[in-house]
């Protein structure tokens, strides 16, 4: 009947498990797929990322050269990072801020 009493007493004296978001933000975890970033100076605008993107979030223009990401469509799967021939796409661990 009193199996949770020890737990309750400990909870009284320790800090909360939850965070006061957005005042306190969880630190980014290394290796986490947070948001997509491009080093645009290395991009050759081949369009491989646009063709492979499962969510149609990337638009690549040849003339004039442009690379656009719709962050609200992106599902941060990282497929584009894998197929990029110049490896100029990187996945950063920090999450996209609305």
């Amino acid at each position: 009947m009193f199996t949770l009493i020890g737990n309750i007493v400990r909870c009284l004296f320790r800090k909360p498990v939850t965070r006061l978001y957005p005042v306190e933000v969880k630190p980014a975890v290394a290796g986490c797929r947070g948001q997509l970033h491009i080093r645009i100076e290395e991009c050759i605008f081949c369009g491989a990322c646009q063709r492979r993107c499962p969510a149609n979030a990337i638009t690549v223009g040849k003339q004039p050269k442009s690379w656009t990401l719709d962050p609200y469509r992106c599902i941060v799967c990282g497929y584009c990072v894998e197929v990029c021939p110049k490896k100029c796409l990187v996945m950063r661990p920090e999450h996209f801020k609305p």
């Binding site: 199996t3 949770l4 737990n7 975890v29 499962p54």
Partner: protein, 369 residues
């Protein structure tokens, strides 16, 4: 609420629309409950509130993009969907997946099962009014989500399963951390679970409620924990897919009572079983590549089955030699468990309806795709 006196219900019955928006339902499902006083006479389901047409979209995307699409069929057991799909395509294309990848798939699949069961146990605790237990269980679940984020790069939508293997490897440090987290989770559960299993008020709410006999479970096609709680030893991991065959086989966890308490106990016992599978997979993981390159396009049809946290998941995949599939069809476990649910409800009290519905762990977004 409306009062009816139809030919089907000759006495004056009350019809209560339970859902689609209801505090205990995480997802939209409507059950029209025909009541005689407080007793349920009949339950009529109405589904279709979150149909997204994913099967049709799967015919428009190419078969590799579909890995990320099918993962989004469910927001809880997403890895299981991508694993089932990848296994189906690999069978079609006769791809031999490296053993290390199979072991890694078991690690993530069982971590997913653990977080899904903890989510369920928390929700059902909340449904019978034990909010403290709900918060305790979800706090423990957070450890599993964090280790998935560290190993796979995301908390739920892991996106690590790919056709031909997996996309990420685990180094020794990460494996040691997974084992540490499992020990911590089991240690914390040792304190919490006895309350769920033995508390007087919990047993009063769950024992003998929502009975499903073994014969009925079989006849109505119940799957997963719902069937196993009625004594049917049915678990598709027994077929030895992924690396389950190399890990000493699977003995299904069964109960015999067939009530809500038995269905919850199945999940409690499967938590420990899953932790054991993760440990075994990490112990026996061989060195080697984590994926093989896949060339060509799928041609032919395949029916692939797998054990999800909620039961048996079936994918039908038909390829025609192009990058797009000709047909993709998913039969999810909640769909199979709905007839059993409709059988459990008549005769119960209105106050027990939320607990009975949650006891099958319904996933409506899976069901409606």
């Amino acid at each position: 609420m409306q009062t009816t006196a139809t030919s089907a219900f000759p006495t004056r019955n009350t019809v209560i629309p339970f859902g689609p928006q209801h505090p205990v339902l995480p997802e939209p499902l409507q059950l029209r409950l025909v009541l005689e006083d407080e007793r349920v006479v009949e339950a009529l389901p109405a589904i279709g509130y979150c149909h997204r047409g994913l099967e049709k979209i799967a015919e428009k995307k190419d078969f590799i993009q579909n890995v990320y699409l099918v993962e989004r069929i469910c927001g809880i057991c997403s890895f299981m969907h991508s694993l089932t799909y990848c296994q189906g395509i690999e069978e079609l294309m006769k791809v031999d997946v490296p053993s290390r990848a199979k072991h890694l798939r078991v690690v993530w699949a069982e971590l997913h099962r653990m977080h899904s069961h903890l989510l369920f146990l928390g929700l059902v605790s909340d449904a019978f009014g034990f909010e403290n237990l709900f918060m305790q269980l979800w706090r423990v679940r957070e450890h599993i989500l964090e280790i998935m984020e560290k190993t796979a790069g995301a908390r739920i939508m892991l996106s690590v399963c790919s056709i031909g293997g997996v996309r990420r490897d685990l180094d020794d440090g990460q494996m040691a951390e997974v084992l540490r987290v499992l020990d911590r989770v089991e240690h914390e559960l040792e304190e919490i679970l006895p309350t769920l299993m033995n508390d007087y008020s919990v047993r009063q709410r769950l024992c003998g409620v929502g009975l499903l006999s073994p014969d009925k479970a079989h006849d109505l096609g119940a799957v997963g924990p719902t069937a196993r709680a009625s004594g049917i030893p049915m678990d598709h991991r027994q077929t030895g897919y992924a690396a389950y065959g190399d890990l000493g086989g699977v003995t299904p966890v069964t109960e015999t009572a067939g009530d809500c308490y038995a269905r919850i106990m199945i999940r409690v016992r499967e938590l420990h079983q899953s932790a054991e599978f993760v440990r075994k997979a990490i112990q026996k993981i061989p060195a080697g590549p984590i994926a093989v390159p896949v060339k060509g396009n799928p041609d032919g049809e395949v029916l692939v089955r797998m054990e999800q946290p909620r039961g048996e998941l079936i994918f039908y995949i038909k390829g025609n030699g192009t990058r797009n599939l000709e047909r993709f069809r998913a039969r999810t476990p909640t769909f199979a468990n709905l007839p059993a649910l409709l059988h459990m409800l008549p005769g119960c009290q209105l106050a027990d309806v939320p607990v009975i519905i949650l006891s099958i762990d319904p996933c409506i977004s899976c069901t409606e795709r």
